[in-house]
Symmetry: C2
Subunit: 217 residues, 2 copies
DNA sequence: ACTTCCTTGTGAAATCCTTCACAAAGCTAA
DNA sequence: TTAGCTTTGTGAAGGATTTCACAAGGAAGT
């Protein structure tokens, strides 16, 4: 929009994972703020709510451009729009879920997902009892259809929610089918090519972190 | 002058969260290795499986002492024992679950929890329909009993799996009841005293991290 | 014993991330 | 317009974490 010295080559600068995490948190805060009708927010406001520092907020944002007004802060509406764009949430992402167990089911019904632009377009399982069942409007598909369906439906992100001993095999097939982003709930480190983005949600690791914290007292 | 006290004073050295995370991952790898009958593992072995570097593995471990044998590597059995001790998994931890919804339920039946030394001893919910129901051997308790039960049962860790607008209030009560470790599944940043350890499991943040990664191509 | 090979443990260097601190910019009021 | 406040954006400093690289320890064979 402006012709400032900013040159906004988003691709060039390396953004750390922690920065991206915080951006996601700022986004959520801003959504809350939008609800309250507050129109601007300072880096100090955001920092306090996000549990970080004002300088950190400004640094995080400054990697992408200048979005604030000095003396005023950031426009909630504008920063919301900007963050959504930065995070790639300005369009919907097609998600497939592999594993229709308890965790898969919890995830499927998790409203925040759909609301944030992630739509689960396919569910796979190996269990013949589950295959064919309807989850919402989508039928649980047989595991063997995975590769073809992932391609045909142009799935962007796959959520792996299978037992840990099956996870790597699923990951291999998913990668072979051209998917480049995986959210892994299985308690294993998946080995994938560097071009594939993986995020792990590992409850046991977090619990053990708490156990460690409690023990070091 | 100064009593340059380093040596093996475990409490004194500051261990980073990322180190603790990796220790937990090494522990899991070693459990797998134990199953295969492999008796020793080098830092290189562990690093490859954990998706890190050999130097990192050695640094992580060296913060706690010297557990390896030069030329040989680490004894799987011994390192297992040591890591369990370091992480505080040499005894069981009493866990309470607040929120008997989908996520709570998935967690409750998650076998890996119990297996790793975490036993869920109490479940709370506000919904009168759920209160009184039996989950495994434990009855779902009314939310209002939370403070007293947490104290009476000497709960170490509370898992918060309630909607985000209720999470902070639950956290406040839990902290007031003397609990010092919280695993939070609600998509909010809890504000707690510094003495309380909090770990967040936030699926939306992870998904948005993937969206960002996909967008930056 | 000696030699060779392997792998640890660890200072030092390099890299990455956060905090500091302040000039510059925007707003309001007179 | 100028003065007084406020808050951003950002180099530079400071800290933390990771990687490097190698001396020293240990095993196994001769």
């Amino acid at each position: 929009m402006n012709g400032k010295s900013n040159d906004s080559d988003l691709r060039a600068v390396k953004i750390s994972e922690s920065t991206v995490r915080r951006l996601s948190i700022y986004l959520r805060l801003l959504q809350d703020l939008e609800g309250t009708g507050q129109e601007t927010a300072s880096s100090e406001d955001l920092a306090e709510r996000a549990g970080t520092t004002a300088a950190q907020v400004r640094k995080d944002l400054s990697a992408f451009g200048s979005f604030g007004k000095r003396g005023l802060g950031y426009s909630v509406a504008e920063l919301l729009r900007t963050l959504r764009e930065i995070l790639g949430l300005d369009h919907r992402w097609k998600v497939a879920l592999v594993g229709a167990g308890k965790i898969g089911s919890a995830l499927f019904t998790y409203r925040n997902f759909q609301r944030r632009g992630f739509e689960i377009d396919a569910v796979f399982d190996t269990d013949p009892v589950k295959v064919g069942q309807l989850w919402g409007s989508s039928e649980i598909l047989d595991d063997s259809l995975m590769e073809t369906e992932l391609r045909q439906r142009h799935i962007d992100i796959v959520v792996i929610a299978v037992p840990s001993d099956a996870a790597q095999a699923v990951a291999d097939r998913v990668v072979a089918a051209g998917v480049e982003a995986i959210l892994n709930f299985a308690p294993v480190r998946l080995r994938v090519p560097a071009s594939v983005a993986v995020r792990n949600v590992d409850m046991v690791v977090e619990m053990e972190g708490l156990a460690f914290a409690l023990s070091s007292r």
